[in-house]
Amino acid sequence: MSRRGRLVVFAVAAAGLAGLLAWGLGGLPPLGQTPPYGQMLITVATMTRQVQNAVSGVNFDIRLADTILEEFLLLTAATGVTVLLRRLDDERERSPEQLAAERPAPPPVSDAVRVWSLGLIGPTVVVGLSLIAHGHLSPGGGFQGGALMVTAGLLGFLAGRPRALPWGGGVELTEAMEGAAGAGIVILGLAGVAVGGAFGQNVLPVGQRGALASGGLVPLVGGAVGVAVASGTALVVRAFVAEALAIRRARQR
């Protein structure tokens, strides 16, 4: 279709869909009333499982299956991005040294950026670890903590420290961590089967709500998710910067 034809088709379609959406969304209960399922899960998460953060209780225990699939979605994408951005034979003909010689040198990183970035890495990592560890107690958890760890890696990259992102043998190590975290979540789930229960069933004492060791498996699943998110995202970012990193290292040599 021509650009115009496409727009005309879409305009007609979007008008129709907008009408349908108005018709359907109008049937929702007014804003401010919540579905009863959520209220029930608050009770289940906080009373039965002694998890202070009900969202973590839902994600890492009651609806664990969704989270497992989602972690493997991340693993799939990390694998997929690695496959898509791998260097192919026709690109390997020229070494990073050649490429470095051909290209203009990058502008130098200013000292202010360097210092600030390096200075922020430490606190970022600490906060990330803390988010992972306290996911069952306060807002945060494996997702947020894992993503924050990768942000620390990006800061290091910004400061001209490419080793903040996985490199060389570190890539395989990160892949191993990603695989181990994925397998770890499945093993945590299988613990329930081992004691004669269902997959994902809690096998640990739930403790007292608010304590660090509470919520049964929830903190452990959160930790595994944190490792999976951090290593998976790091692999994705690394795939995007691999070439630039190779050239930068060649230049430094």
């Binding site: 108005a22 401010g32 009900a54 839902v58 991340l74 997702f143």
Partner: protein
């Protein structure tokens, strides 16, 4: 009134993302429009789970019996956000590789397949 606004914004964001995709002239722009379309679903989920006068579903110093917004809708939105990031990364990689092979990011110029 507020209901209409919240649900309406969710639908509007979804359609806006679709409009961006349809009219896009750049595959990276297109991928970002896709994530805009997806963000409509977060807004809808959180609007459905919102409770008037409720606290966040984190019971730090708040008794669990206190009225709170829906943790399930939030858990779903959280998963949805991770899905969105994952999908964005994969499609960006495709766009980068397609640029390498076609020499352009314009979808109008991707002409390997037709008929």
């Amino acid at each position: 009134m507020m209901s209409g606004l919240a649900y309406g914004v969710a639908g509007f964001v979804l359609l806006t993302g679709l409009w961006g995709i349809v009219t896009s002239r750049d595959s990276i722009h297109l991928v970002l429009c896709l994530s805009v379309a997806q963000s409509g679903t977060y807004v809808l989920l959180l609007a459905i789970g919102y409770r008037e006068g409720g606290t966040a579903p984190v019971f730090q110093g708040v008794p669990p019996s206190a009225p709170a917004v829906d943790p399930v809708a939030q858990a779903l939105a959280l998963t949805d956000i991770v899905v969105a990031a994952v999908v964005l990364a994969l499609l960006l990689a495709l766009a980068v590789q397609a640029h390498k092979r076609f020499g352009t990011r314009d979808p109008d110029e991707l002409r390997a397949l037709r008929g």
